[in-house]
Amino acid sequence: MSSNKNDDPISDKILNIAKKNPKGISDKDIVAAVPDLSSAELVAAINKLLQQGVFDLFNQGGSLIYRLKAQTSKQAVKGADNEEKVVYNLIEEAGNKGIWIRDIRIRSNLANTQLTKVLKSLESKKVIKAVKCVNASKKKVYMLYNLEPDRSISGGAWYQDQDFESEFVDILNRQCLRFLQQRADKIKNNPKGPILGRTQSFATAVEVQKYITDLGISNVKLEVEDVVTILNTLVYDGKAESNVYPDGSKVYRAIESLIPPPGLVQVPCGVCPLVFKCCSTGLVTPQDCKYMDEWLEN
């Protein structure tokens, strides 16, 4: 606000009420606030403030409404033209979710070429930045330069420059499993009874997170929810099961499949890519099947 310091007491007073009413103030509010002012002086003061760009002017139900502009916008758009201001406002509104160029165009009513120019200039001033969206690689969203992109845009810890780091996830997945497996045997023939054993074989996400952090395999800081995502993949891998403690926290435990690999996957046909083309006669037959030869050889 320092840049807008006014020597003028009238302007100060008007600004004060405007601050109290973020939805905007009407002429009547101003008159009520500074009753000892003639209308000519009032008009002059308001005009001055409008010129400074402190207020936005709206027409609501026939009467004029003055609304205080947000602080930052005043600073950032300094020295910018009107188009830039409009675009800037739209981008600012979008917050850390960003806004798509198409939406800016529709809402600002600017022509395509002009808009690109405006965006370029804002970008070069390092006021806004373009962020690639992880969900759609070609979709770019704009947001203010100093903002950290939302998880839905950046993808969180698992993305490096919009690329999914599957190796990283794999390593974490394996480490988490190792941690759970270290505990898993506690339930087996525990002399203190199975319930205690089960409790010992469970691990909460916080514990796993601590273990991962202590390992130091990740240079990105992993939040508990990130670890939960990884633990959930373990559940989907069928290598762990999750339970809920009475206090509502989720716990995980490494498990084995209910049955050893069934017969179907022990024979080559169960994994054979050609199994649906295999017939009694023809080119693919069990009699001279290469896979079967290999299998029977060893």
């Binding site: 087996k188 319930i195 959930n232 993949t233 049955i259 690999p261 069934p262 009699q287 029977l296």
Partner: protein, 506 residues
């Protein structure tokens, strides 16, 4: 009743009964039920041979018959499920041997080979066959006791008898009879043994193996092992006791057993008592079994210290899921299995959400999803927004798993694999038929010479007619055949779980 099933059945019939029975069986499989004259017409075999084949099929309970519309001739029908049981025989024998010992194994083996037999006939045959075997030390009295206990436990049962009611049609029908544990006269048996003739004994009750009883054992075994893997030995033991309690009060294959009071279980544990850890923590084990036992056991009430039911249906479902998981993992990789399980957990899920939860790179995730779809492991349900305009109307694609359908897919795969194993085995046998024949001949000759006590020199001469390369080939073939038959048994185990799942209606 799929094409694949037909191929397997045909291959099995060929192996066990030869070409003629295979032809007749094939014909019956394709056309459903038909009378003899029609079989003769389509197969082109002489009537006599067709009748012979049908007799074999009927004897081993691989076919059934019923009066046709005209009520004077019978229509014959193949029972493919029973044909599949033929490859399960080794498992029956192993099971009975581990439970009741060698005598029981010999009895069941003989009975399986003869399909049906009278009690005395069976006992005398087995006793005579093993008369000279000093190691096993089989006596007819021991066999008799074993027979009685097998009948009591329900592993063997009385064969159905022809309906003799008046007014029925010319075609007889078989009606099952209640099994009465026989009271066999030891003196008569010993007499029959010594004279070697059964003519004096009037025994017209025929017996056969009760497959279902064996299947119950297999089922129990699977459940107990699963619990042992999931929790520990004590939990497995507890599961076994629970199943025993279940048999007392409910049908063996009930989707959910009748409630068993926990008190009875505790009592049973105390009686079993060699597991000190289990008896110390029965209640805890029950609780853990209930909460972490994959839903095999469920608590239904708190009366009398808790009421427990065994959920056969859910157990079958869980085991099926485990089988499918394994299949998907091996066919398409562990990442595909992750997606498969994810979809199962979420019931209905969109493509984008799959990517988010499975933590896989976009491209790989899509590829695997489509692969799963292609191999019929998952299904897709498009949801179109009604009456919305133009390009903006984007359909939502919900992926989900139709368990029943996927189970069928797996079953088909099993049939294919089983057929291929059988086929390959037949091929190996054919290819080396001459050598195997030679080996067999040499063995008989050598055996005969040993019996006659001829000099070692001559025996060696005969044995050397099999050259070292021939021996090497034989050994190789032997090994392969062994591997193939082991695979057949494993596939059969796999099919058992699938069939168990199909036992409960959708």
């Amino acid at each position: 009743m799929s094409h694949q099933l037909g191929r397997v059945v045909s291959e099995i019939l060929h192996r066990y009964f030869g070409e003629l029975v295979q032809q007749v069986g094939n014909d019956l499989f394709i056309y459903g039920s038909k009378p003899i004259s029609m079989i003769v017409k389509t197969t082109g075999l002489p009537r006599k041979q067709v009748i012979e084949s049908l007799r074999t099929l009927l004897k081993f309970d691989l076919a059934s018959f019923e009066p046709s519309v005209h009520e004077v001739v019978a229509d014959y029908k193949l029972l493919p499920d029973n044909v599949l049981l033929l490859i399960r025989y080794p498992r029956y024998l192993l099971q009975i041997k581990s439970k009741y010992g060698t005598e029981a194994e010999l009895l069941v083996e003989e009975l399986l080979q003869q399909a049906t037999s009278t009690a005395t006939g069976l006992l005398v045959t087995v006793a005579t066959k093993n008369k000279d075997d000093k190691e096993k030390n089989i006596t007819i009295l021991k066999l008799k006791d074993t027979f009685v206990s097998l009948a009591t436990a329900g592993y063997i049962q009385q064969a159905p008898v022809a309906d003799t009611k008046e007014g029925s049609s010319d075609v007889p029908s078989l009606v099952p009879v209640a099994t009465i544990v026989p009271d066999l006269d030891s003196r008569q048996l010993i007499h029959a043994m010594t004279t070697g003739s059964l003519a004096d004994i009037k025994d017209n009750i025929y017996w056969k193996v009760n497959y279902d009883r064996f299947h119950q054992d297999f089922r129990d075994d699977i459940m107990v092992k699963a619990m042992t893997r999931r929790i520990d030995d004590n939990a497995g033991e507890l599961m076994r006791l629970l199943l025993q309690q279940m048999y007392l009060s409910s049908a063996a294959w009930a989707a959910e057993s009748n409630p068993t009071p926990a008190l009875d279980i505790r009592e049973a544990v105390r009686r079993a008592a060699d597991k000190s850890l289990l008896s110390q923590h029965v209640d805890h084990y029950l609780k853990v079994l209930e909460e972490n036992g994959a839903g095999f056991v469920r608590r239904v009430g708190d009366a009398g210290g808790g009421q427990l039911v065994v959920c056969g249906r859910r157990a079958a479902g869980r085991l099926l899921e485990a089988v499918l998981d394994h299949v998907v993992t091996e066919r398409l990789g562990s990442n595909a299995a992750r997606i498969f399980r994810l979809i199962r957990t979420k019931k209905y899920i969109e493509e984008d959400d799959i990517q988010k939860h499975a933590m896989l790179p976009n491209k790989e995730c899509k590829e695997l999803t489509y692969k799963l779809l292609e191999e019929h492991f998952i299904s897709v349900q498009p949801m179109k927004k009604a009456a919305s305009s133009g390009a903006m109307a984007k359909a939502i694609y919900l992926y989900h798993i139709k368990t029943h359908d996927v189970a069928h897919t797996a079953q088909e795969l099993c049939y294919r694999a089983l057929h291929n194993c059988l086929r390959r085995g037949a091929h190996e046998r054919n290819a080396h038929a001459r050598l195997r024949d030679k080996q067999r001949r040499v063995r008989t000759i050598v055996h005969g010479m040993r019996m006659r006590g001829e000099p070692q020199q001559n025996i060696d001469d005969v044995e050397e007619t099999l050259t070292p390369p021939e021996l090497a080939v034989l050994k190789d073939v032997e090994k392969r055949l062994k591997q193939l038959s082991a695979a057949e048994l494993e596939l059969d185990r796999n099919l058992f779980i699938l069939n168990w799942y199909f036992m409960y209606p959708k």
